[in-house]
């Protein structure tokens, strides 16, 4: 991709897209005649998840790139992106609530999350203003509901199964992460007028990308956490799921379990020792193998989608940036 082409794409994201997004969110909230304080509250929540740098591909801008890669008009896909943003934030708030990460204002947070889910549905209806036929919009809405239901199903398993094995972990990751991202990308390719085989390839690309993101997230959560490491929470993270599934002796399992129990009580030394034990048990190697497998699937699907638009090269580049350790291990 030339610097001119990259700059053209960035320029559209920097100016037109964000302006259109703001306008659409404003319209949706205005048309519902919302109480002023509730509207402001939703805007504040959206602020906390404000826009990324234009040079970064993010989950927010992924549908735009796919639309452009499919030869579509990016203006037309803005309602899909807005719906995706509102629904993603609503789902994130509910996820935080269910994980016990919200200490104050629980009822208000639940109310905001539900409001965002409704607002997301309304955003899709705005595709009619872009001249898209009602049957297509209905199809997008139905698929969105199916994706949402699948994510809820995955979350149910996540909440109720205390010791998943790697197969179960993968099912959860695919349902919670892969399927919703798959919807967003499929929807944008559909709006762009892509053929059935291209739609399927992009959906498979995004679903695999979603699983890869979850693998990378679990990897970072243990070895490169932003705040509190995953081992200090009760979250069933993949390195632990792996280690408990392959531990061959009860002593090995008990040792790991004892360290995890202490780490969850805030014992930093236990957290350090648990991370070391996971490495010794091959958890990092397993994460890399699994990451490579889903990276390959996503890259293959992208290739099968065909076309040679510069936006597609950005999609591949973005895929390579999800889990940099995959590039690092291949060095030297």
């Amino acid at each position: 991709m030339s610097s001119d082409e990259r700059s053209e794409a960035n320029s559209w994201l920097e100016t037109d897209y964000w302006s259109l997004e703001r306008q659409l969110i404003g319209d949706i909230l205005n048309e519902a005649s919302l109480d002023r304080s509730y509207r402001q509250h939703l805007i504040c929540l959206l602020d906390r998840w404000a826009r990324p740098e234009a040079s970064h591909v993010s989950l927010e801008t992924l549908p735009i790139l796919v639309c452009v890669a499919c030869g579509g008009n990016p203006h037309q896909v803005v309602p899909v992106c807005v719906a995706w943003r509102l629904l993603r934030l609503g789902a994130k708030l509910l996820d935080d609530l269910e994980d016990g990460e919200v200490r104050e204002g629980l009822p208000e947070m639940i109310n905001s999350a539900v409001g965002l889910l409704f607002a997301g549905q309304l955003a899709l209806s705005k595709l009619g203003d872009e001249g898209l036929p009602p049957t297509l919009i209905q199809s997008l809405s139905q698929e969105l509901c199916r994706a949402g239901l699948a994510a809820c199903g995955g979350q149910h398993v996540d909440l109720t199964v205390t010791s998943p094995d790697p197969d179960r972990w993968l099912e959860i990751a695919a349902a919670k992460s892969g399927v919703p991202i798959g919807w967003a990308v499929w929807a944008s390719a559909l709006v762009a007028g892509a053929q059935e085989s291209v739609l399927a390839s992009y959906r498979e690309y995004a679903t695999s990308l979603g699983v890869l993101l979850q693998i990378a997230d679990d990897y970072n959560g243990v070895w490169y956490p932003d705040h509190v490491g995953d081992l200090m929470t009760k979250r069933p993270t993949l390195p632990v799921v792996y280690a408990l599934s392959v531990a061959t002796t009860s002593e090995q399992k008990s040792q790991l379990q004892a360290l995890l129990d202490d780490a969850r009580q805030g014992d930093i030394e236990a957290d350090r020792r648990a991370r070391k034990l996971l490495i010794d048990m091959g958890a990092q190697a397993f994460m890399l193998v699994l990451g490579q497998m889903w990276y390959n699937r996503a890259a293959q699907s992208l290739k099968q989608a065909g076309g040679d638009h510069p936006a597609k090269h950005r999609l591949l580049l973005a895929l390579q940036q999800v889990f940099p350790a995959l590039q690092d291990h291949a060095k030297d």
Binding site: Q23, L29, D47, E53
Partner: protein
């Protein structure tokens, strides 16, 4: 994937050969182990050292910049 987890463990921890662990694996799982044979042959601590500089990719999940409260005055 459960079988793949066991295979990785046997290669990395028990130092079994690729041939010895690949019996229960799907063709795709066998292919990925073959592709990553060199990585799996590393000592787990060496691998951890190699990966010690891997940055995180949190920008994929969160959107850290800007503000939607710059909505037009009519909002």
């Amino acid at each position: 994937m459960n079988a793949l987890a066991r295979a990785v463990y046997d290669i990395v921890v028990n130092h079994k050969s690729f041939e010895a662990v690949s019996g229960d694996l799907s063709a795709q799982e066998q292919a990925i182990l073959k592709e990553m044979r060199q990585t799996l042959s590393r000592n787990p601590e060496d691998l951890a050292r190699l990966l010690a500089t891997a940055p995180t990719q949190s920008e994929w999940w969160s959107n850290p910049k800007g503000s939607v409260s710059q909505t037009p005055a009519s909002v």
